[in-house]
Amino acid sequence: MPHLLFYLFAAFAVFGAFGVIINRNPVSSAFSLIACFVSIAALFIGMNAYFIGTIQVLVYTGAIMVLFLFIIMLLDLRAEERRPINLGSALAGLVVGLTFLAMAGAVLVRFPEGGRGMPDLASPSGSDVHELGRVIFTDFNFPLQIIAVLLVSATVGVVVLCKKELH
């Protein structure tokens, strides 16, 4: 991936992420997060992970963020815009975030493998869906079944949670 494109999408992702925590309106936050997710998907595709980039767009922006927007519209949230910002928690969040960043930076500076570039691929434009499918259905077959059970139980749980209580 060329440097220019990497920095372009990285800047979009970081601006989107900042937009999520800076915007006072939850709808603006959700749209900033969509911009961030699409940029991250572009970075995935730049790393030849075509399938992961596609499901990032389909699942995250197509399903999850639409669900978020739907819930925001359903609950009609406007009250937060009038609330003052809690200075104590803002300061604590800033300190924790910067400390984490400093720690991660200190680790990365001492990471000897970190300076290397992308190795060339045997088939750069080849379909990785084929290979991923083979790995999922051979090495990760059992986790796949567990995920299926998890999804079914989550669906049942959501239905039970959303049901009006019977008195």
Binding site: P2, A10, A13, V14, A17, V20, I21, P26, S29, L33, F37, I40, L43, M47, N48, A49, F51, I52, Q56, Y60, I64, L67, F68, I71, I72, L74, L75, A79, E80, R83, I85, S89, A90, G93, L94, G97, F100, L101, A104, L108, F111, E113, G114, R116, G117, M118, P119, D120, L121, A122, S123, D128, L132, V135, I136, F140, P143, I147, L161, C162
Partner: protein, 105 residues
């Protein structure tokens, strides 16, 4: 050539922004969005390791399968979490974490 450290630092930066958002914001829906952002940041470093650790021109597909599972679990988590938020809103008529003080009193 973009190096592995640049991807990892971007991932750490997005994670730190998400962490800050979880602590700063008081709207539970925005906190939930920041959690999703942190998951996505972790995915970014997984895919970077998969691509940069390619052996004989073949990326490490196990890492990408892990990302696939993380996305699936995130989708299930969002469905359950938003259902809980709706139930909470029904009970308290608010989505502000400052109003959730049942355990405190």
């Amino acid at each position: 050539m973009v190096t592995l450290n640049e991807y990892l630092f971007l991932s750490a930066l997005l994670f730190a922004i998400g962490l800050t958002g979880v602590m700063v914001r008081s709207n539970v829906i925005v906190i939930f969005m920041c959690l999703e952002l942190m998951l996505s940041a972790a995915n970014l470093s997984l895919v970077a390791f998969s691509r940069f650790g390619a052996i004989d021109g073949v990326p490490i597909y196990s890492a990408q399968v892990l990302v696939f599972f993380i996305v699936t679990v995130a989708a299930a988590e969002v469905a359950v979490g938003l259902a809980i938020i709706v139930a909470m809103y029904r009970a308290k008529r608010s989505t502000d974490v400052g109003d959730m003080v049942t355990m405190k009193n």
